[in-house]
Each structure stands twice: as C-alpha cells, then as structure tokens.
C-alpha cells in the first residue's frame, strides 16, 4: 500500500429523488474527467517528491527503446493498466516512464493554483496524456457536453439513486474501474429524515408535470420567505438525497482508497446533511435554489452558470469546497448552516519504523518510534502527557485557521505550546486538566497542526533522519536562512549533526547565548523531518555466571535437583525454538554441536558457540527464576541505586526510551547514568529513533 495520499476523487454529485423521479441536482467540477472508466495507474515513481530527479531521469529514461514501445503499445496499455501480468509488465513500465513528465507538469500546475477556482483543474498536458485512443473519450466534443462521467445526466441520476431498500447504508457502484460512492439518505416510513425530528407528512399535489411544478414550488417558497421552515416541511416532496463521490483509484489499492473515503469523508458529510435536512429542510431548499438557477440560466456558458450557482447556494459551495480540498488531500473546512465541520483523509506523515527505500513517502515525514497518531495504541497514548507538542505552523496562524476565539482557553493553550515543555507541565502552567490538554493535543495532531515529540533538550542526541527530504533543498535553504540568519546554512547545519559519532546537541552549540536559537533551529529541522532524536532503549542481559549462581542457590535451597543444563535460551521467548535449533540450514544431523560439512572442497567442522547471555524482553512479566536473576543483578549495589533500579526495571524492555522514562518517573539524567554504569555488565542498549 502506498504511503502517499491519493484521493482519486473525480467529482461529487448530488442527486435527489422526488415524486418526479430521480434528479441530478448538482455536480462538481462542472466538467469532470471520466478517464474512460479507467483506474488511475498506480504511481511507481515519486514525482510528487523529487521532480528534479525524475525530470533529469526523464531524458534518458525515454530513450529510443522505450519510445518505440510506447508508440506500438499505446492503446493496448491503456486497456488494462492495472491488470498487468508478466507479459505486459515491461510495456507498462515503459509507459509509466513516459508519463512521468506529463504527470509532473500537472502536479506542479495543480500546486500553483491549488486555491484558485478553476472549472478545469487539470492541464491540457494531462488530458493529452490520459486520453487514450479508446472511442469513449470524446468528452471534450460539443455533442457530449451534457454528459457527466460519460453518461447522460438523466441516466446518471438514475444509477446513483438506488431503490429505497439500499438507502441509509453504504452505496457503492463501480462501472469498470470508476466507483460511485455514497450514503443515500431516504425518508423513513413516517416521512421523517431522522426518527427524532417531527415532521408533517408529505403530500403529492405537484407530481404531474416536472419542470413547471418545481418552478411553482420555488415561487411559492419565495412568497413564503418569511416562514421558510414551516413552508418547507409542507412543500417537501423530496424523499431521498445522495451525495455521491466519484473516484477511480488504482486497482491495486481500490478497496483501501474507497473505504478510506467513505469512512473519513462520505459518511460524515452525509450524516451532517441528514441532520440539517431533518432540522430545516436544508438539502431540499438548497436543491431547489440550484435547480432554479439552472433553469433560469440555460443559455449561459457552463462556467458562468456555475459562478451563479455557487453564489446562490451554500450547499453547492460546500460541495465545491469539499471537492477542491479532498481531491488535493487537504482538509475541507465546511460551513453547513451554522455548523462548521472539517473533513480529511489523514495523511501518513509519521513513521515508527523506516519504510523500504523504494517506497515513496510524503516529504517531511517524521520518523520516531514515539510518534503518536490515530493508529497509536492506548498504551502509547498514555505517554502523551510526558511528551511535548511540536507545532507544524505558527501558533497565531493555527489559532486563526482553526477559527478559535482569541483569548479562549484553547487559544491560550496553543500559544503556550513549546517543544521543550511536556504537556503535563503545560497543563499546570495553564491551569488545565491533564486530560483536557491531552485531548486538545490529539486534536491538533489529528488536524495536521502538531506532532508529539519527546520534549527537546539540548542534552539529547539528534541525528539527520534517514527520511530527511534532501531532494529539492533549495527553497528550504532559503527559508532556513531567513528564519535563522545567524546560523550556518541548512546543509552545513545538517552536516554538523551527521558527520561524527552522534553526540549531545549541546556539543554543537557554540555558547550559552546561542542555546535558544539553536533549539529553535532544532525544532524547525524536526518540523520538516530533517532531524530526529536518537533515543536509548535498554534491555537486561543475564550472563551465564548469574544464571549459574542462581541455579546453585536453588540447588542449595533444594528447590531443584536438575543437572545443570548449560543451554540457556538467547532471548526469553515463550517459544524455545531459538535455544534448540542450532543447526540452522546446515545439513546437520548430529546431536552434538559439531557439524561436519564440505566447503569449497575442504573438510570443515562447524562448531556452535555457546550462548552466554540471555536477554530479558519483558522484565515486567519475569518468571520466578528470571526474578531471581534480576535480583542477583542488583545485588551489591547501594540501596538508593537498588530502589531506583526497581523503579526502572519494568522499562528495561527495549520499548520505552530512557529519555521518556526519566520524564515519567521524574529521575534525573545523572541518576540514571549512575545506575546504568553500576549495572553496566547486565544491560544491553540500542540507540535508534
């Protein structure tokens, strides 16, 4: 599954069902592309991230061989780009190489006019590149102007208006590789949208003509302006509405993309609209507005018509806004009546483990095993109080973007956030409940405004992240320079951090006076994913002499008479496969630890080295014997050390970084170091993010 966002949203439809039958009220964009019912080809390359690279590759990539292949197979490839089998794979690869340039141009273009209202959001290069030689690709011709997604408008409204039994649950219809996804809302048996809202029964006096009756209704509504709410409920002949998202995800991730869209966007939007419809007949009234504008302005060009519709109807605006944001993987902040809702498909921008090098990720992704996102377990979320928040934007900007009232508690909180302060200390200084702070924090993380990090400390160690976005550095160099004019340039700064054995951040701060600005620079680097903290994870390791000592103790106490078995397990797994299986893939049939084998014609004896240490993976769940080992380990240490050890022993599981343990248990770095030094023979540490 790709880590890159790929909404593949082609358009949004609004259809309603009245006594006149189904009707397509509105669709956005005005002239959606249908791609001939084909799926978006699965992107191999990462043109979103490194345009320079791909463009420089491009010249050579489309060398003579590939060009020939493209010319020959153009139409064949488009037939089924995703059902690629071995035979057509090479063709597909060539094809994709060829298309990289076109796609890139589109991406750049899209980005540049992300926020401008454009009826035709894609560039002509893309149209050319995506238009196949198939016959059903004439959507730009005059004659098919009233076709939407390759269908007549009336027919389209029919297929996205399912029978009542299919309503109020997920609607998903795929035509070839293009999916129509919605949550059709149907009035219930009592004629109500929701079971709670009381409504007068519908009546059907205007079901004979189609256009005229609707016009009359609109007029009557206008006359009754003063009393819209009541009038609406009596005039309501709409029995169902359906907001349909049209998508063409790549076949390999079809279900995933569709589920994602339904879960995060479609269902939530439909529920809000149902609520508003039940409350104030919102969808019906807005539909009438849109239809009226459409009828009165039949002679207008489609762009002018859409300008008018968007001016008149807030629902049309909402749909357009939703399309623009969601199709570009942004957050859609929608105003529906007096309600604000935000919808998004969450981005994968935090990674606990390093994804394969070949797998493209969003630039600026953050690598940290402590990362908290919506996939985090409860256990991980418990740590959030000890973590700090790193804002991904200016605090003032976040407050205004989230439309938080200045001076409100939340605004105060956001402004007080610092990546050096844990949430717990923030809650104390703001006089807020820790739970409330945690929920604010999760909110900010979910809405892409912040990231949970181990509180920044100059004594900690930082490395250049293996996911650092080193491509397209130019702009970042400039903004780093603008932000921190007195510091070394971005590349030199990264070089400073990465060209020696990792050391504490303090080592690169020239003087005390520079501490503040260096920490600011550090949080800037973390924000853009250049740098991550190198954390220390510790396990207990029990050498044989401890084990033997414990065994002797046990024998002395008469608890065990077993002859000593010197083969200890290497790690304390419940399966003992590690301990027994010593021959591996070798052709060993001997029961001894010696295997003879022939290697390069030489007679060879393979002897297995005895396992010495056992690493305890879960000291918290230690068995009786293991507990004896542990107490043997700490024997002979001063009592305060021993007390500290017992406090910490449950964290010596390789999962919780020491940096966080210190905060959780409120122990100083010095004490921890002293303890670990004392038991140095019995611990094993690893350092990673």
């Amino acid at each position: 599954m790709s880590f890159l966002p790929n909404p593949c949203l082609l358009g949004i439809l609004l259809s309603i069902s009245t006594h006149n039958g189904p009707q397509l009220v509105f669709h956005y964009p005005p002239k959606p592309k249908d791609f001939g019912f084909k799926a978006t080809p699965f992107a191999l390359d990462n043109d979103l991230l490194d345009s320079d690279e791909s463009s420089s590759d491009e010249d050579s990539d489309t060398s003579s061989v590939t060009d020939e292949a493209v010319g020959k197979n153009d139409s064949n490839i488009f037939q089924d780009p995703n059902y690629v089998s071995g035979q057509t794979l090479l063709d597909l690869l060539d094809e994709q190489d060829r298309r990289r340039a076109a796609k890139e141009a589109r991406r750049l273009m899209k980005e540049s006019k992300k926020n401008s209202i454009s009826s035709n959001p894609r560039t002509s290069s893309e149209i050319n590149s995506l238009r196949s030689s198939d016959h059903h690709h004439h959507h730009h011709n005059k004659k098919s102007e009233n076709k939407v997604f390759g269908f007549d408008v009336e027919f389209l409204s029919e297929i996205v208006t399912p029978p009542r039994q299919m309503c109020n649950s997920r609607f998903e219809l795929a035509v070839d590789d293009m999916a129509f996804l919605g949550l059709p809302i149907h009035i219930n048996e009592e004629g109500q949208w929701r079971t709670s809202a009381p409504k007068t029964g519908k009546h059907s006096k205007r079901s004979k003509g189609s256009n005229i009756s609707r016009e009359e209704e609109v007029e009557m509504l206008e006359e009754e302006e003063g009393d819209v709410e009541e009038g609406a409920s009596t005039e309501n002949t709409m029995s169902m509405f359906n907001i349909v998202f049209v998508m063409n995800p790549p076949v390999v991730e079809f279900n995933h993309r569709i589920d994602e869209m339904f879960h995060y966007v479609v269902s939530r939007l439909a529920m809000v609209l149902r609520y508003e419809q039940a409350k104030s007949d919102y969808v019906w009234l807005e539909s009438q507005k849109i239809l009226k504008v459409k009828e009165q302005n039949e002679d207008l060009s489609i762009n002018e018509l859409y300008d008018k519709i968007l001016k008149e109807s807030s629902l049309a605006q909402t749909i357009a806004q939703c399309f623009k944001s969601i199709s570009t993987s942004n957050i859609a902040d929608l105003q529906i009546q007096d309600k604000m809702i935000s919808l998004q498909i969450p981005l994968k921008k935090q990674f606990k483990s390093l994804p394969p090098k070949t797998e493209p990720v969003l630039p600026g992704s953050f690598l940290a095993s402590t990362a908290i996102d919506e996939t985090s377990t409860e256990e991980e979320e418990e740590n959030i109080g000890y973590m700090a928040l790193l804002l991904l934007d200016d605090a003032e900007k976040i407050v205004s973007e989230l439309k938080i009232e200045q001076g409100s508690q939340l605004a105060q909180f956001i402004k007080s956030i610092s990546p050096t302060l844990s949430l717990y200390s923030l809650s104390q200084s703001n006089g807020m409940e820790p739970l409330q702070v945690a929920s604010f924090a999760k909110h900010l993380i979910y809405w892409r405004r912040a990231r949970a990090v181990v509180p920044l400390n100059p004594k900690s160690v930082f490395i250049v992240s293996p996911m650092a976005p080193l491509h397209n550095l130019g702009e970042r160099i400039i903004s780093f320079r603008q932000e921190f004019p007195s510091l070394p340039s971005l590349p030199s700064f990264l070089s400073l951090l990465s060209n020696a054995k990792p050391r504490s951040f303090m080592a690169i701060i020239p003087s005390k006076d520079h501490k503040g600005i260096y920490l600011d620079a550090l949080s800037w680097l973390m924000r853009y994913g250049y740098v991550t903290q190198l954390l220390i994870f510790v396990w207990l390791k029990i050498p044989n002499r401890i084990k033997i000592a414990v065994e002797e103790d046990l024998e002395r106490e008469g608890l065990t008479k077993k002859t000593k078995d010197s083969k200890f397990k290497f790690a304390d797994l419940s399966t003992d496969a590690t301990g027994k299986e010593k021959t591996g893939n070798r052709s060993g049939s001997s029961s001894s630890s010696q295997i003879r084998s022939v290697w390069n014609g030489q007679d060879m004896v393979i002897e297995e080295e005895d396992e010495d240490d056992t690493i305890l993976l879960e000291p918290e769940r230690a068995t009786a014997v293991e507990r004896r080992w542990i107490s043997k380990v700490i024997k002979g240490q001063p009592p305060e050390q021993a007390a500290l050890f017992h406090k910490l022993v449950r964290y010596l599981n390789g999962k919780t970084p020491l940096e966080l343990v210190m905060l959780k248990e409120n122990i100083s770095r010095h004490d921890v170091r002293k303890l670990l030094h004392g038991i140095n023979d019995y611990i094993i540490s690893v350092k990673h993010w």
Binding site: F42, G86, F254, L354, I477, T578, M604, I606, I684, H688
Partner: protein, 564 residues
C-alpha cells in the same frame, strides 16, 4: 508470496436474462436458491434463503444500455456483486435487443479484483457466441425472437443465416407450439435444433465449429456451466470448461501484485530464490545474460556493463524479477559505508527464526585478513582492482583463505557465532562510523563471520539501515530559485569553509589547467548535485570512485556532506 492469503470464495453465481414478457429474471443460480427461491416447485429443495433481495438490485444487474458491456460491481447488504451485463441490439430479437449477465456474488469485503478480468472475458465471450450462434437466446425457448409465432418476416431479419433461415424458422415455428415453459424437454428439442443450426453455420462461417459428432453445444446447459465454474474456481482457483470445439471458459485466478517499485542504477539486486533453477526456454535473452551477475554485490548499472546489455533493458528485467519477488534491493557494499540500527532491531530478539537464519547466512570459514580496504570504494568498479576486491568479499577470498588454511591443518574448524554475539554486533553499528572502523574495532568477534553477509542480512530484514552520504553544494541547490544569485554569494560567504585559502588556491590553479575531460565531469557532477544525489548514485552515474568525486567537488568550491 507472503502477503497473499488465497482468493475470496465465490458465494454464488447466477445467470440472468431480460425476458420479453417477464422482465429481468434469474434463469440459473448456484447454489440453488441463493439468489431467488427456485422456480421449479418442490422438486428441488432450496439449499438456503436468498442472499439478498434480487428485486432491489435487478436494475443494476440488467441495466440500461450505457452500463452494459462494462464490468459492474455493486455492493448490496453483506455482498458484493460483480457482473458484466451484455446487451445485444439486433432487429430479430423480440424487443430488438437481448440482455444477459453472468453475475458473481462475493462477500462484502472480498477482494474481487482477481476475478474481474475473468468475469469480463466470460461476458465478452458469450456476447460473441450469442451474436454469432444465438447460443444463449435459443437456450431456453424461443420467446426472445420476433419470429416466435410467424416465420414470414424471418428471412428479412435474421442476418446471420439468411439463406438457411427459412427452413430453420419453419422448424422453430413448428416447435414453438409444442414447447411449454418446462425447461428440461426443451433441451431435447433444442439439441436437434442445434444440429440443424450448426450445419447452417458450418456452411457459412469459416470458424469451423465442429459438427461431425453433433456436439456443437457441449454446453449442456448454462446451469451446469456456472455450477462447474463455481466449484472449480472455489476449489482449484482455475477452470477449463469447453463450450464447443472452438470456445471454452478458461479461467485461472492470479493475485494482483502492485507494480514493482522504481529502481536506480546504483541499487544492488539480491536474489531471494535460486534464480537459475527457474530458467526455461521462454526467458528473455537479456534476462539470461544478467542472471550470473545478480549476486548481491553488483549494482544494476554494473550488471548491465558486465553482461554487456543495455541498461534500460536490464532495469526492466530487474523490475520484472522484483514484481515476482524473486529479488530485493540492497545497497552497494563498501567499507566506507555507514550502517546504524533501526527501530526494528528488536525483531532479531523477538522473531524466533531470524537469529537462526542469520547464523546460517553469515557464518564464514575465514576472517578477512587481507581485504584491501582502500580499493573497495569504487561502486562501479570498471577498473580491475576494484573488481577483484569486491569479488573477494563475495567468496573467492573464502576459497583462497580456506585453501591456505587447509594447507596448514588439513581440516578447519568454523565456529558458528552465537545469536547474542550477532545481536551485539548489530547494535554496535552506529551513525558516524564506517564499516572499516567498525571492523577494526570488532575484528576478533567477526572471526567466522562474513561481514558483507552480516550487513546485507541486517539491511534486508530491516534491523539496520544504510546511512547514505549526500554531498551538498548550496549554490547549486539554490540554482532554481530566483534568489539564487543573491544567496549563492551569501551562502559562499557564510558557509564555514574548511580551508578557504586552499580552496581559492585550488580554484586558481584549476582555472589554468583544467582539462576538457574534467570540465565535462564537473558539468555532469553539477547536474547530479542539483538534485541532491547520494555519493553512491553519483559514483555510479559518473563511473568514478568516491575519492575522485570528492577531488572534483573540491575543485568546485565548498561542499557539505550530510549523512542521512
């Protein structure tokens, strides 16, 4: 295939037609009663309640024209229906058209994609068969035709067999009166009819549908066809059902794999299977040529040079092998590399098989006593010294060393390194430390361990990662932006230059006697630097070793090396 867990079971298959008088109806279904209650009364006991309400979805199963001849997938209740509705328009049909659909039912969340091409093909095949032989429309009774009652207009409207249709239609008309709605007797009459029809076809079409034994329609009934598809696909993931001598329903389900990721010239393919055991006569010649060089040491670029094959073809071959997961990609092994643990290093402790696999993979007969470290850092290695050094690592060194050892003792003892030792070795890797230094520090522990294999194993299993080095030149990175000129100079001034005097010195000297070749190299290097390529990529692209690239870089001015 680790990430593939079988195909979704087919819950049901049904065949629907649009009946001229009865409308959309389910003609056949497996299992019986899964779609609609069986119409044949109590003779057959329905094995189950219908899975869903067919009436609700029938407009999507036999849809209007625009949805026809496309693959239609519809989710309903707990099920996912996949079909390929076909509509054939021809004047001889009762309603000028004939519509049918072979529809497959899966569970809601099932991955139906492997079935889609088969369902599409099935629909298209029967569309053709129907257009040519009316194989479906004549199957049940004749109600689908206009000439059901009278044959007078038939000659004009039946386009396929104009000459023969008169006699045929006479028969049809004769039989029509005797045909009742019961399906079974109509088969008998139909087989007779089919023979007649087939004689006609045979005379007029070159396809040569077999008639000799009269079994033009081995397709006994659609019922048995879908029954067999249902059983074979669910049990064997494939089926091979002859329809007539020229046509058959051949389906083999294949999992849909994502396209292989993009590869770079400096990537090193390493096989996960015994590639040479898989070769057959159909293999691509380039593929055969490159096989011997896929050894976990050669980069793709170098493979193409060694095999004397075009790079782009080699690249495609490598991606092809990646698609089938026969190879994975690692990095170029050099003693100047840096490796460090990842967050998944604990898998070595937790995965019970990993440590054992690792032991078996890395154990080696000899220590690398005489590896010439300093010549190892040429990743492309088109000069001979680097070539021998990399070969050494792969195994020839083993050969030589063990032979010298055997001369001494005749028999050699190899100690399989303990798991704990391997873990400690992995964790002792860290940022800012080259393999060379690490090796020197851990020389004793690394006895009997193949260093390259140890590191490759760690990288492939995600225990450690390669820290790549990127040379960055500020002024080149800023080239694109409009502030470049301003910042170029600013950056030059502010970048802490190591030895400014030396630099200017170098510049002055170089401006005088830079050769044309160097100038070319510098311009290529600048191009690569603009897109922040790693040293490996630059060395591979320019066929130079890292030292030469660094020398070139120095002539160009100050640069930073970032290890990421």
């Amino acid at each position: 295939m680790a990430d593939f867990d079988g195909f979704a079971p087919i819950e049901a298959i049904f065949y629907t037609v649009f009946h001229p008088t009865e409308g959309t109806k389910v003609s056949h279904q497996v299992p019986l009663g899964s779609i609609v209650a069986p119409p044949w009364g109590s003779e057959f006991e329905a094995s189950q309640e219908p899975l869903f309400d067919f009436d609700v979805v029938k407009n999507y199963i036999i849809p209007k024209g625009p949805l026809c001849n496309r693959l239609i997938t519809l989710k309903v209740d707990q099920y996912s229906l996949v079909g390929y509705p076909v509509q054939i328009t021809a004047p001889h049909y009762a309603r000028n058209s004939f519509s049918f659909n072979f529809c497959f039912v899966f569970n809601y969340g099932a991955n139906t994609i492997p079935f889609e091409s088969a369902i599409r093909r099935l629909g298209r095949m029967f569309k053709n068969l129907e257009e040519q032989y009316h194989i479906l429309s004549k199957k049940e009774d004749m109600v689908f035709f206009k000439n059901f009652q009278s044959s007078s207009t038939a000659n004009a409207v039946l386009p396929d067999n104009i000459a023969e249709s008169a006699s045929l239609d006479d028969q049809l008309a004769a039989r029509a009166s005797s045909i009742d709605s019961n399906f079974t007797p109509s088969i008998a009459s139909f087989s007779q009819l089919a023979i007649d029809l087939d004689n006609n076809i045979n005379s007029s079409t070159p396809i040569g549908v077999s008639t000799k034994n009269g079994n033009v329609m081995t397709l006994e009934s659609i019922e048995s066809l879908i029954q067999q598809i249902y059983q074979d696909l669910n049990n064997y993931s494939e089926c091979l059902i002859p329809v007539d001598s020229g046509n058959s329903v051949d389906i083999k389900l294949l999992p849909l794999l994502p396209p292989p990721p993009r590869v770079n010239p400096e990537d090193v393919p390493i096989s996960t299977v015994q590639l040479n055991t898989m070769v057959d006569v159909n293999w691509d010649p380039t593929m055969l040529k490159i096989l011997p060089y896929i050894d976990g040491i050669n980069s793709i670029k170098r493979i193409s040079l060694l095999a004397d094959a075009d790079y782009w073809v080699v690249k495609s071959c490598i991606q092809h092998l990646m698609y089938y997961k026969c190879i994975t990609i690692t990095d170029i092994f050099q003693f100047s590399n840096i490796y460090a643990p990842t967050a998944d290093i604990d898998l070595f402790l937790k995965d019970p098989n990993m440590a054992t696999d690792c032991q078996a993979y890395v154990v080696s007969a000899s220590q690398f006593d005489d590896i010439p470290f300093d010549t190892c850092n040429n990743p492309l290695g088109n000069n001979s010294s680097a070539k021998t050094s990399t070969d050494n690592i792969s195994g020839t060194s083993r050969n030589r060393n063990s032979s010298t050892a055997s001369l001494r003792s005749g028999k050699r003892t190899v100690v399989l390194p303990s798991k704990a030792k391997l873990f400690y070795l992995y964790r002792s890797l860290h940022q800012g430390q080259t393999v060379r230094n690490w090796f020197k520090e851990h020389r004793d522990e690394l006895e009997y361990i193949d260093v390259r294999r140890l590191l490759t194993f760690g990288v492939l299993r995600g225990l450690i990662y390669r820290v790549e080095s990127y040379p960055l030149v500020d002024s080149l990175l800023l080239k694109d932006s409009n502030q470049a000129s301003m910042f170029g100079t600013l950056a030059d001034r502010l970048t802490p230059t190591r030895e400014p005097t030396l630099r200017t010195l170098m510049r002055r000297r170089n401006s005088a006697n830079v050769t044309d070749e160097q100038r070319l190299q510098i311009s290529e290097l600048s191009r690569l630097l603009e897109s922040s390529k790693s040293f490996d990529a630059i060395c591979t692209e320019m066929s130079l070793d890292r030292k030469s690239v660094e020398t070139l870089l120095r002539t160009m001015g100050p640069f930073n090396v970032v290890n990421s």
